[in-house]
């Protein structure tokens, strides 16, 4: 057998390797060629018996041959493995249009969301969030706020009274300042509690539940209010106006908020003003912002009651009204939510209808932030 014959015989493996139809066949070819007794292995063994001259001539040829066989086997193996994998994956095909598990998405109630928005807006203005009891005393809810027992404004409040107060009156143990005798009719008693507990300067908002004995299409016996209070030196009605303007601009995220202050009356503020905000009509809906009366109609909507804290209220809290003055305001949270997010009926707020909650509620991660905007776009 000549060298050339050996080599050409071995070369004939190459097409067989390239056409090997299975990994098993390829493996048997590999053993034939490169195994312990394989023809290429045998050929390599002949190198040791050769003369140096002959080895110099045959060595590179035999090594190159071995390499080409090895490469061919590796290439064919990769191709066969890929084909096998492709075939397996093709067999694993699923219907990707089948539904995945529905995401478990709960909601935050619009009232909570708006409370968080308010806290965020007012935090930037340096207002802390204050809280107080919902079951209140006569003194905190009325008398300290300059609403004495015979004041006509008390009748306007439609107060829910508790039997505890009546029983205490009958027993002669009633203490106007200590007997919890009613459900607060507004968040204003938090003003009183704050002024009693903290030294000025004071900047707070107080959101929470309030109660009036009222039930019709636009009133519910329970509703939510937010109170604002600033007590400091040199505070004027001008600061109040700016604060309300700034608040409403931040809340509705519009610069074209137009306010109209109307002189009004609250026993606990003097001067007092009701605050209307201009609305315009967009796509048949009332939208807060823009100049009422300009194209498309519009008008004024009452959103707030406000005023300079009455000197008697400041004095009732043990502060000197000649030294400290400030402003207060109160606003319906449910109403703010309705105006911003477009609910037109108050009653479903307190029904717990999951269809309504899913529609008007907010995603857990929609946390109002100043940097990201306090509102959640529809």
């Amino acid at each position: 057998m000549t060298d050339t014959d050996d080599l050409s015989h071995i070369r004939s493996y190459l097409p067989q390797i390239a056409e090997a139809s299975s990994l098993e066949l390829l493996e048997s070819l590999r053993i034939d060629a490169l195994g312990k007794n394989g023809s290429v292995t045998q050929l390599l063994k002949t190198l040791g018996k050769m003369s140096p001259e002959e080895r110099q001539l045959q060595g590179p040829r035999i090594h190159a041959l071995r390499e080409s066989v090895g490469d061919a086997i590796a290439a064919r193996k990769a191709a066969l493995e890929k084909a096998a994998l492709d075939a397996r994956l093709a067999a694993e095909t699923l219907d990707m249009t089948l539904p995945a598990d529905a995401p478990l998405a709960g909601t935050v109630h619009p009232v909570s969301q708006v409370m968080d928005e308010l806290a965020e807006i007012f935090a930037d203005l340096g207002f802390a969030v204050a809280q107080g009891p919902e079951i209140e005393t006569d003194w905190h809810n009325f008398s300290a706020l300059n609403i004495p027992e015979t004041h006509p404004a008390r009748a306007m409040h439609d107060t829910f009274y508790l039997t505890q107060g009546q029983e205490a009156k009958a027993a002669g143990t009633f203490d106007e300042r200590a007997t919890f005798s009613l459900l607060r009719t507004h968040t204003s008693p938090v003003q009183i509690r704050t002024m009693l507990e903290q030294k000025p300067p004071i900047r707070i908002i107080a959101p929470g539940r309030t109660y009036r004995s009222d039930s019709d299409a636009t009133h519910t016996p329970m509703f939510h209010q937010v109170e604002g209070l600033v007590i400091d030196k040199g505070i004027t009605l001008g600061h109040l106006k700016w604060t309300l303007e700034t608040f409403l601009k931040a809340f509705f995220e519009r610069d074209d908020i137009v306010l109209r202050l109307r002189p009004s009356y609250f026993p606990f503020t003097e001067p007092s003003a009701e605050v209307d905000v201009g609305y315009t009509i967009e796509k048949g809906k009332r939208v807060i912002g823009g100049h009422p009366g300009r194209e498309g109609g519009g008008g004024w909507m009452e959103v707030l009651g406000s005023g300079m804290v009455h000197p008697k209220v400041i004095a009732a809290c043990g502060l000197d009204p000649d030294e400290w003055q400030g402003f207060a305001f109160g606003c319906g949270i449910d109403r703010l939510a309705m105006l911003k997010y477009g609910m037109d009926d108050l009653r479903p707020f307190f029904d717990g209808d999951i269809r309504w909650l899913k529609h008007y509620g907010f995603a857990a991660l929609d946390v109002p932030t100043l940097s990201g905007g306090v509102g959640v776009a529809a």
């Binding site: 404004a153 600061h239 009004s264």
Partner: protein, 788 residues
Amino acid sequence: MKFTLSWLKDHLTTDASLEEILDGLTRIGLEVEGVDNPGAALASFRVARILSAERHPQADKLQVLSVDAGDGPMQVVCGAPNARAGLVGVFGAPGAYVPGLDVTLKVAAIRGVESNGMMCSARELQVGEGHDGIIELPGDAPVGTPFPDYAGLNDPVIDVSITPNRQDCMGVHGIARDLAATGLGTLVPPTVPSVPGEGPGPDIRIEDAAGCPAFYAQEVRGLANGESPEWMRRRLTAIGQKPISTLVDITNYLTVDLGRPLHVYDRAKLSGGLVARHARAGETVEALNGKTYALSEGMTVIADDVAVHDIGGIMGGAHSGVSEGTTDVIIECAYFAPDAIARTGQALALTSDARQRFERGVDPAFLDDGLAIATFLVLEYCGGTASAVTRAGQPPLAMRSYAYDPDLAETLGGLGIPAERQRAILASLGFTVTTDWQVTPPTWRRDIDGPADLVEEVIRIEGIDKVAPVPLPRVPGVAKPTATPQQKLERRVRRAAAARGLDEAVTWSFVSEAEAAPFGGGAFTLANPISEDLKVMRPSLLPGLLSATRRNVARGAAQVRLFEVGRRYLADGEHPTLGVVLAGNARERGWKAGKAAVFDAYDAKAEAVALLAAAGAPVDNLQVMGEAGDAWHPGQSGTLRLGPKTILARFGMLHPALLKAFDLDGSVAAVELYLDALPAKRGGGGFMRPAFAPPALQAVRRDFAFLVPASLSADALVRSVRGADKAAITGARVFDVFTGTGVEPGMKSVAVEVVLQPTDKSFTDEALKAIGDKIVAAAAKQGAMLRA
């Protein structure tokens, strides 16, 4: 408070348009609630003359009229008995809307005769009650004139909301005064006639000077009490009052015109003189509204020798009220103390136009003039002879004055207004201002109570819209957190709950007594609830959530996952709480998951633990104990406690009896989490966390299957296992519980996976075996045997 434009113009000389007046009212704090022109609806009706009237050829009771409404003769079929040639009445042409009939007229054939419109009755046009025939106007009424113009119906009715401090604006005159001060015209002072009196005044006196400091009266004899004049009836009708008789209408008119309530007694029904005194125990009076009121001691009344005739300042008595036959009257003009009126009115739950004015404080200086105006009108429209005036008592005329610094307009009101301008505004409102700025309010402004009120007066007249916004000074430095730890906690658990797929509801703070009972009952009960369903303050959040669940189930919801963050109201205070109710399917049926699964107690436990973790509670250290309470399934509920006493949460299935009370069937799981029971963060809220480096060596896991008594709690077994080698064991978890084949009755198989964490060197086989032995020994103390 309603009045008409023409009425206002009796008190205010002005060229201002209606729009300007409405705008001015709102601008100065007299909020316009509505404006309505009753004439507008009748604009298409005209004054018309019947030229001829012939019998209808087909009907005895109908006539065929020829009517001229200014455009020549029209044929009209009419059934009115008074229709006749020459009559001047009111004609509606086809197209006109007849409010009293709620029809729009059209050309029609009536019994074969064409009719081109209609001659109208007062009732058909809603301008009066008459319906016996068509309206008859005077013969000289100008034919063709729009009827509203002729009848003075084109008089807009303005409805203004008067705040409780402004008694003076509960009369048209006071409103005119405010408008005049803003520059919208000139105030016309009321004409006070001089009424000569003959003979002695009526016998009146005061015993209750505190409740009724002043009681003036005048008698008129020999009068006739008929229908009041047309102009007065028209105005009263326009503002929604029903004309009754001249005497009654005069008092009602003056109440609105001048804010001065009066009362007129029928002299013939009185026995002896009148006295303002305290009511006596047991006295009753039938008031003019037909209701009988039981009076209590201390209420101020006007009485004669026999009975009470007036709940002073609130409502007169029916017995001595005037009627058509009245000939002699006593006209009362008194001053009742506001506090006394308020107390009596509240006690009797009786409100009236008089009470509204007296309790806000009428002008004490207007008794003589008010009485003179009233008596003058009575003499004018009823005839008779007036007596002298009797004056008992003295109205409180003294007004407190205030030192006022005009700078206050700017330093409090934020609007710099020149001092002289302020002086002029105050003067125009009736205040007297001395050169050194001592300001005295007029007697009709008893609401003024200090310099801040004076600021309000000048600002509201000058224009509160002129106050410029001034930025609130920024607190220096970086913004500080403004929420309390409790508020932050509530925000966290709320969003954690929403993130876990729960929907936040807001339910009433009050529930029914029955709903409160299983939760310990309501500690606070409303004395005046809206309904029995909303009567006691909730001791738990679950009743409200269960009611909401029932409504959702009734609407077909297959899965309800509701939560609420709010307060429970217990005898010791208000407690922030989170409640969760899970009802219906925990998992919907699915192509992958198979059948639907209902919620079980472990779903509730998962929520409780997850929300406690979100709240920052040390969930690994909590103990699960029983005793959730009557509302819960006794065998499928528990409490999560920090130490044996502090209950952080209740969870589990609710008791079927409770669910039945809420009309719910099936199983409902719930959680109640007590947000104020959570321990405050340790470490004073610093940011630094305990040092930690992940162990270099890999943890080893070993499984142990134990046979334990069925009654042994998994928690007890796991605690023992964990405690077997505290240094090495970093975790232990039940991964299988089995009873049945191969496990003898009364026992169960519990499989626990234990995590062993080597520290500085790997465990040797011997070390692992030693730990395993300790685990088995510890479990054995609980009655557990390692399964073979």
